[in-house]
Symmetry: D2
Subunit: 381 residues, 4 copies
Amino acid sequence: MIGYAFMGKAHSNAWRNVASYFDVPAFERCVLVGRDRDGVAEAAAKYGWAESATDWREVIARDDIQIVDICTPGFMHAEIAIAALAAGKHVLVEKPLANTLAEAEAMAEAARAAQEEGVQSMIGFNYRRVPALALARELIVEGRLGAVRHVRAAYLQDWLVDPDVPMTWRLNKDTAGSGALGDIASHAIDQVLFLLSEPVTEVSGRLHTFTRQRPGAAGLEEVTVDDAAWVMLTLASGAIASVEVSRVATGQKNSLKLEIYGDKGALLFDLEDLNELGFLDATLPVREQGFRRILVSEPEHPYLEAWWPQGHVIGWEHTFTHEIRDFLVAVGTGTQPSPSFEDGLSVQRILAAVEESAAAKGSLIQLTPSARTTQTTTEGA
Amino acid sequence: MIGYAFMGKAHSNAWRNVASYFDVPAFERCVLVGRDRDGVAEAAAKYGWAESATDWREVIARDDIQIVDICTPGFMHAEIAIAALAAGKHVLVEKPLANTLAEAEAMAEAARAAQEEGVQSMIGFNYRRVPALALARELIVEGRLGAVRHVRAAYLQDWLVDPDVPMTWRLNKDTAGSGALGDIASHAIDQVLFLLSEPVTEVSGRLHTFTRQRPGAAGLEEVTVDDAAWVMLTLASGAIASVEVSRVATGQKNSLKLEIYGDKGALLFDLEDLNELGFLDATLPVREQGFRRILVSEPEHPYLEAWWPQGHVIGWEHTFTHEIRDFLVAVGTGTQPSPSFEDGLSVQRILAAVEESAAAKGSLIQLTPSARTTQTTTEGA
Amino acid sequence: MIGYAFMGKAHSNAWRNVASYFDVPAFERCVLVGRDRDGVAEAAAKYGWAESATDWREVIARDDIQIVDICTPGFMHAEIAIAALAAGKHVLVEKPLANTLAEAEAMAEAARAAQEEGVQSMIGFNYRRVPALALARELIVEGRLGAVRHVRAAYLQDWLVDPDVPMTWRLNKDTAGSGALGDIASHAIDQVLFLLSEPVTEVSGRLHTFTRQRPGAAGLEEVTVDDAAWVMLTLASGAIASVEVSRVATGQKNSLKLEIYGDKGALLFDLEDLNELGFLDATLPVREQGFRRILVSEPEHPYLEAWWPQGHVIGWEHTFTHEIRDFLVAVGTGTQPSPSFEDGLSVQRILAAVEESAAAKGSLIQLTPSARTTQTTTEGA
Amino acid sequence: MIGYAFMGKAHSNAWRNVASYFDVPAFERCVLVGRDRDGVAEAAAKYGWAESATDWREVIARDDIQIVDICTPGFMHAEIAIAALAAGKHVLVEKPLANTLAEAEAMAEAARAAQEEGVQSMIGFNYRRVPALALARELIVEGRLGAVRHVRAAYLQDWLVDPDVPMTWRLNKDTAGSGALGDIASHAIDQVLFLLSEPVTEVSGRLHTFTRQRPGAAGLEEVTVDDAAWVMLTLASGAIASVEVSRVATGQKNSLKLEIYGDKGALLFDLEDLNELGFLDATLPVREQGFRRILVSEPEHPYLEAWWPQGHVIGWEHTFTHEIRDFLVAVGTGTQPSPSFEDGLSVQRILAAVEESAAAKGSLIQLTPSARTTQTTTEGA
């Protein structure tokens, strides 16, 4: 595994625990890689990796390594992932796929080539493994919502409300690519693709930065990414999705909200209550219709049989354990894990179209058919 | 109508509006009666009564009066109601039926006698006319909950949290009979009887006064009624209901909460969200079970067809409009309105048993069969 | 009052009850006007009007009429309102102000002229009189939210989910002007103006019709208005508001949702729970921050002192009672009621800009300064 | 660690992960003990224990073992715990302390003796380590609720709703001691003690078994424990707590609900939403009072700094990780962990009094002063 900050901590947790709950192919947690020798050594000891190292190229070259999990910042994804795939290693990479569309396309191309050699790759949109959202997709696939007409998605956080929060690499376009758009709208857009299983044909968007300067090492520095973004998507079926994301939504801590309206039913979800799914079945008699709060904690629910008795809720990091479970199972059976790099590329193309639209006063951008790859099917839990 | 304070205001609203929404027999709002000549005259003008008067006996004697609505404090109920029935007037009386069991028994006896003469009477447990609770009863009667095993009822208010709230007649046993027990536990207990349609066989209870002295006209005065009460009821089927009421439940304003657990389903209700009913259908597949929030605002729901389009919610006072609608329809058709004085007496007997149990360290009190009158059936809306 | 359908019923309720709760100048409910002689006579009797009539011109000419309340469909507003103002009658007109911008401008002009003669006018955006929203505005005006950065508004209904719901005048552009946009986005946009007290400078929008044909008298007919609309507004301060409205949001009955994010606090509201306001005070210690559910039912809350004790909730139609209370008080004191026709015109201009943007692929439309009238201040309750 | 079923799985998770999140003294996961040789060996491999064994006496005798974690059924607790303490091992034992009061007293005595030798012991009431409940206690200790007047506690589950759920050792008094009372009322009662920090002086209770026979290996067998229990507690300050627990509360999966009402504030909690605490501050102006939903996920909240960024919620099993963190820290510093066996004994005494009261028609039982040990203070996180 390469990288040991926030995502490295979360992925380590998953690798440390997955085999205690799920039947997965045997594996060892060999090496944790990072730039700072002492830091990575300490992290390896704390998180349960056998060794640590500072040069990812050396590690990728090792014969005893079969899987590379990339948790670095986005601008390093392409180089490492392409090299690892070329070396015949199965690759899991954190989202977003890359900071630029060109990098993302190169990665998807490398993944296709590797796949022909039996080398698998996957992008880590972990919220596909929230049991409530996996259940949501099951219900939609089974037709319980009928034809989906519109989706309201939002991802709201508030860690930038205070204008005195200092400048970081995440607020600089050179290092971060974009702001709320790439960081959290990417999750919301991936959910639209995941849940509706159809490509996007049109995109429009708007980006805004409420606080344009923040204190940095050398006085006030320019914030060059968006604090908030508004996106409209048309899907191939004619369904329409709105996506609104913000890092200044005071009081909203990590609230990925989804509302999906079909002609036979509707679904509600909020990541801050991730063990719950709201479901309304519009085929029941009107007198008894209403949104149900399904506490997604039964053995009948995706992934839950592995955990605790009903009503004993799970947390945010469990989504990574599920992700790595599915990744390992796919690698073990030699099948393509989902979501693929191609799926990650689809999201990148939409993000790029949002930026294009935002620069053009919000006008609708058509996505060319080649840019509208249909999503692959997730392996069920 | 006799009395023009809180309940008089609420009943006036109902009489003023009922014919604008429901098909009811024609009636006129003739006389409002109160002790203070100017006060009652002003109230009559404000609330829309043609005349006012100060002597209820004179009014009851009038030939142009057919209905008497009694909104006075409880200690006056028996005298007025018995006189009015004897005069051949149909009577609606606010809850609780009376302050003492003896009075309540006399009233029920008078009501039975009057009924034989075609003179109707009704007690105003208005929460039976909350549409969500009327729907709850429909679902239970239809068997949607299966066998009900236990009920959790509570009625929580907080207007006595502050020990400096002054002494009033409501806090004096001589005038009020009891405290939270008679005032709000009576509502909760009536709901248990209404929803389960079966008599209570055993009662136990506890009463407590957290603030024993309050400032009065002449310094600190003794509070001689309960602030809070805890009641356990066994029903004829073996179902068990707990009832907890309080006037010092900080932050709870007017929260009558009901939870009803059957072997095929369950219901939840809170008066602070009175347009909603929670319903869980345990016969659905486990994967999709959950409490539904039914917004009780559709024409298919009890009483709602008369009001506004779906989703346009109603308020607390509408329950009185429904009550008077049902009363007028019953009077018009010459049938017994529900709940009857007998139903009111059943509640009084339970309240008396609670006091008896509380005085005996909480021991279970058996109700004799004659005290366990089965509830009459409500006329549907 | 002219018109006796849905809005006529709601306004009648307000006129019938307002004086029982609020101190208002004395008035009589003289005449109800409608086209169908029998229908209007029956409605007048049911709703408590002294007379009925079929010719609004005759009624407006009567000397004993001082106030005209216009509850007709939008296409009749301009003619009646302008005539009534010219006749020196105070006018209350239902929203939206008119079906076309030209009519709306003429009405605002007439209102300005009448105002100089001491003749008052008001547009009925009744949701300004939801106590929770009046409280929301108080908190914002007092600075409790700090600088508002963004607003998420939605108005979601589901009465058109079923494609077999038949064609009506509301779905025809000629009679209705627009669909969800004019009917419900107008309410949401008015709330943005009301709550933020600042003009809109930029608008973009998208309109969509999911079901393009519906069964009519003569087979399938074309639906020529929108089922759903998405609007982005930039306000003078730089704040951004998104507005999403739909008549096919399955399971959402009448859900006007508002989320307002400032740098010191945030507010949440949902019309389906109209007695509640969510408030987060971001100036409190982080450890104890959270959205509060304020049950807006205390005497300290706008309009509530007139009604019931705390926790005894009110319903949707009470907003009209408050509206007419404020209208009567303003008329009585000879001051401009709020919102004015000018305020209604501001909303119309935004709606027109949305249509313009939607026709231009969603591009941003600048509003000229003259189109950005700042909202007048509401008279407090 | 002894035992590898449900609790063994949960404790293993905690031991496996605690050092990755918290600074704790170094330890090794040496031996997992169970009766079935193959089963325990498999569990040890799966859950990350170095060895497995079948004889707990041999393991306790080993010099390389310093800590014994007892996850066996309750009837084995006393023997193992007393032996382990005598052998100088620090002991963590799952709740309830024992199946009988005599055993619990012997264990508390052994713990006191061991403590004098520097050998620590702790009982695993893990819900004391729910961050929201740890925060609740902080607020109460700081006086934010003022004087607590009453508590409403409930623990509702529904796994016995179906009468065809088969007989198990948990439904037999000989093996389980009691039913819902010992299993889940113990948690609720411990919370009352933990949150209010004062002893119980009076107890009354009622027990009920709704389904008296269930299918067993040899046909229908008698269920000899309670399905549901109702408990009233008087605390030393005069506060009153009601506790209601059920295994047949249809639709309630694992819902430990707490409502705590003081004269300056109130708290709400539900274990199914364990990342949230409801708090009402009654010292704020009435106009802005309301229950806050505090999402307990900030670094300022107990235990949370170790985990994820704000809004990234944790799950049920994290409570064990916190418990073992606190246990290890106490062992490391040579201080008494909390809750102690004495605290566990206090709960047992209350449970015994409930059974005594239930057998006496629910009469109040006085607890003797020696039975009312004040709770020790929890070490803060």
